[in-house]
């Protein structure tokens, strides 16, 4: 049981302060990590969790305060130094090199080498296999990382941190790319590491997980520590209240009262893309999917990770066109073989990888928002600054983007605000159909709620919304109708009001009938 073994403070940050140009990211924060304990670190995006972690593991240096290791003040020079001190970190953004093998990645930076500088290759593979054996033995140490699924990469990342046998293991949103089953495996692993004495800092937006594995919870808000409490003194409501600073009674807006009907906005008939050859990355492809989205409804697309959802929605947007089947929009068959064709047909797409696909990070909020609808602000070939400004300001307000001005560079915004900019960008194109892939992954609760409201408003205005998400609560709470995919095909269709977690899980694992 939590904290029964004698636990002592291993790593301590005292009164840590960190300022970035224009932002005070961390103010006077104190954190204590004890052996045999899991400390959950929760707070909205932009609360300073990642900054705190980056100070502890040497990515940044604190502007004020000190870090103590076993009671001794220590300067953590860089991540490598942190590793030698026994502090290993799995960052939110994965840091594997795709063109190296699993083993080469796990031992990167601490490769065993002989006196002549030559690598001891067999040692590398043996040690990598040992580390993986504890985490996910099914992954081949000889595989190239670019052949792995996101979930497998996450496991390799954790094995990499674990291979250093750290005294303190920091996990920053380790489960956000995992399916429920995989996340469960990870949680039991964390529990096992704890029983061996490791001190774990666990950052997660999934509160269920926090309640399941943590001994203590530290809540952060706006760069400050709100409180640190034993898990026993908290319940869900209280925790959320501490995080947001107010009661969050209703996460999801009400569903539409009656099923949508009329002419479907989007109809897929037997759409498919050939599955990839075996042995390559995790997706099963999509084989023959038929589904409909009516105007004014929110349709959820769920299932375990990698069951073809990604291919399906990317196919609808033409990012990777379907090889067969028909796409009908407003009852007319259209050929969507590129994103341009999809935009022309009134489809907007919010991808899951916002940094890589959704935004041009060095450009400003305004420039990003206008990017997909330049035609509307161009006259005689020239951009009209005033009109552009007005449109951007309008949507900054509508979506409550938190930034000093629309000229702020997008790369400096928090994940939630970046997602709002992407939404604004596509709403400016006035789409008929909005397709979203994991729109709230890694985003704080408050912004999530705002996004849910916004999606519902859009639906009420007659837009069709198709949302692919691995977050079961979101799927059930938001959708009017839900499709579940398994191994590339739709295994069930459920009305949102009738959906339960058990029923969806049964469909997701291929069992049960709709």
């Amino acid at each position: 049981m939590p904290g029964t073994t004698s636990s002592q403070v291993v790593l301590e940050g005292r009164n840590l302060t960190k300022t970035f140009p224009g932002v005070k990211a961390l103010t006077d924060v104190t954190i204590q990590c004890k052996s045999h304990q899991v400390l959950a670190l929760v707070g909205e995006n932009g609360a300073g969790k990642s900054t705190l972690v980056n100070l502890l593991c040497g990515v940044y240096q604190p502007d004020g305060g000190e870090i103590l290791l076993n009671g001794t003040p220590t300067r953590v020079r860089d991540p490598h130094h942190a590793a030698t001190l026994g502090i290993a970190t799995v960052h939110q953004e994965l840091s594997l090199l795709p063109h190296l093998t699993v083993a080469e990645n796990i031992l990167l930076g601490s490769e065993p080498a002989g006196r002549t500088g030559f690598l001891r290759t067999s040692d590398i593979y043996r040690r990598a296999a040992e580390a993986l054996a504890d985490i996910s033995p099914s992954i081949d140490v000889d595989a190239m990382v670019y052949d792995l699924s996101p979930a497998e990469r996450q496991m390799v990342e954790i094995a990499k941190a674990w291979s250093q046998r750290p005294r303190v293991l920091i996990l920053d949103e380790p489960t956000s790319s995992l399916s429920k089953v995989e996340a469960q495996n990870l949680l039991s692993l964390v529990t096992r590491l704890r029983s061996q004495g490791t001190s774990v800092i666990f950052i997660s937006h999934r509160l269920d997980e926090v309640f399941e594995i943590s001994d203590e919870v530290m809540v952060m808000k706006d760069g400050h520590r709100v409180d640190t409490l034993p898990i026993g003194e908290l319940d869900r409501g209280k925790l959320i209240q501490l995080m947001v600073g107010r009661e969050m009674t209703q996460t999801f807006p009400p569903r539409r009262p009656t099923p949508a009907s009329g002419r479907p906005l989007l109809e897929l008939r037997d759409a498919a893309r050939p599955a990839r050859p075996l042995g390559t990355a995790g997706s099963a492809g999509s084989c023959g999917v038929s589904l409909t989205v009516y105007p004014g409804e929110i349709v959820g697309l769920g299932g375990l990770e990698g069951q073809g959802q990604r291919d399906l929605i990317r196919g609808i947007f033409g990012a990777e066109p379907f090889s067969r089947g028909q796409v009908l929009i407003d009852g007319k068959a259209v050929r969507i073989d590129s994103p341009e064709a999809a935009i022309a047909a009134g489809v907007a797409f919010i991808p899951d990888d916002r940094k890589a696909e959704g935004l041009v990070l060095p450009l400003s909020i305004r420039e990003n928002m206008i990017l997909a609808s330049l035609a509307r602000v161009v006259r005689f070939g020239f951009l009209q600054g005033k009109r552009e400004q007005a449109m951007a300001d309008d949507y900054m307000g509508k979506l409550a983007v938190k930034a000093p001005s629309a000229d702020q560079v997008v790369g400096n915004l928090s994940g939630g605000n970046q997602q709002k900019v992407i939404l604004a960008k596509w709403l400016l194109t006035q789409p008929k159909l909005l397709v979203l892939h994991e729109p709230t992954r890694g985003i704080d609760i408050q912004t999530k709620v705002e996004i849910y409201r916004l999606l519902r408003q859009l639906a009420e205005q007659g837009v069709g919304v198709l949302i692919a998400t691995g977050d079961m609560l979101e799927l059930i709470g938001l959708s009017d109708r839900i499709y579940i995919m398994y191994e590339g095909s739709v295994t069930g269709e459920v009305r949102g009001a009738e959906a339960t977690e058990e029923r969806l899980m049964a469909l997701s694992s291929g069992g049960g009938t709709a």
């Binding site: 090199l97 063109h99 080469e104 690598l119």
Partner: protein
């Protein structure tokens, strides 16, 4: 060492298979078409022709793997020939110090390139463009026109041959084996790939990316000087501008061999074939009496073709990922 063949090393080398097939095809074709090509004399000729470029391209490959580029490497080649040209009759240097000086100068230029890129954060293209000009200036200051002579004993040693085996060929073989072993089986080599693959990720894994980058540029400068020394062995003299073409030709050879300009992908195995392809194209077109301006066009087309080839295959790889 059997176990050493595991992993990304093998994959990196496998990328070079198409270019080797292309070279073999070209050789086979020319063997049939041109009787002159079949002679032992011409074989030695091709080896001698390919040697300086192939040597220089090793250095360029190292820097490209880092995600950088070295445009100064051609100037380093020139400078090395100029320094050696003071070692012959009436020269002011003995061959020993001349060689050391040439190597040290190359390494120093590379080191400063690396320092500029890492510490001053100057983009590699600009940093090495600047040092290219400076080094060229130094070479022209030392010798404003081709001339001087290289120590006789040394040139005789470099031009030694027994049948088809030449000193140039042996030197090249040693250089490539050393570079390949370094890149594939040592810690700094692995860190070079990692740094070029993703600098921030490598840094977070505990790779000293700054040191690795400086090391890479220093090695490139050093290898550039080796290329210059080998070239001096062919021209018996010094020439302050002879190396100019090597900067871009070495990039071409590396890219033909499958090394990515974005860093982290490729290796010297392919570079060798790339250099051979470029040099042989010249040789073959010469044998066929093709005018030199056509030769440039053909070279350009080969390069463009190779890039298309890698691009198409690269897309395939991405799709699989």
């Amino acid at each position: 060492m059997r176990k050493g063949w595991r992993g990304s090393v093998v994959r990196q080398a496998r990328r070079a298979i198409p270019i080797y097939l292309l070279v073999l095809g070209l050789v086979a074709m020319t063997l049939v078409v041109s009787p002159t090509f079949r002679t032992e004399q011409n074989f030695r000729n091709v080896v001698a022709q390919v040697t300086p470029l192939a040597a220089v391209a090793v250095g360029q490959t190292v820097v490209l793997l880092l995600g950088g580029i070295d445009l100064s490497i051609g100037s380093v080649v020139s400078l090395a020939t100029v320094i050696l040209s003071f070692s012959g009759r009436n020269g002011s240097l003995h061959i020993g110090p001349a060689l050391l000086l040439a190597l040290a100068a190359g390494a120093l230029v590379g080191f400063l390139n690396g320092l500029g890129v890492v510490r001053l954060r100057i983009p590699p293209l600009l940093m090495t463009l600047a040092s290219m000009a400076v080094v060229k200036g130094v070479a022209l200051y030392l010798r404003d026109a081709p001339g001087g002579s290289v120590d006789r004993a040394f040139t005789r040693f470099l031009n030694w041959h027994a049948g088809p085996v030449t000193m140039f060929g042996l030197a090249l073989l040693v250089l490539y084996l050393a570079a390949w072993a370094f890149l594939s089986f040592t810690r700094p080599g692995r860190h070079l790939y990692a740094t070029g693959g993703d600098r921030e990720h490598a840094r977070r894994s505990g790779v000293n990316v700054d040191w690795t980058t400086i090391l890479g540029y220093t090695l490139a400068g050093l290898v550039g000087a080796i290329g210059g020394i080998l070239l001096a062995g062919r021209i018996y003299s010094g020439d302050p501008v002879i190396g100019d073409a090597y900067s871009l030709d070495s990039v071409a050879a590396s890219v033909l061999g499958g090394t990515s300009l974005l860093g982290g992908i490729g290796g010297v195995v392919g570079t060798l074939a790339g250099a051979v392809l470029l040099a042989m194209t010249n040789n073959i077109l010469n044998l066929l009496n093709v005018f030199s301006f056509y030769q440039y066009i053909v070279k350009g087309l080969i390069l463009a073709g190779a890039l298309v080839l890698y691009h198409v295959r690269g897309r395939g790889a991405h799709r699989a990922a």
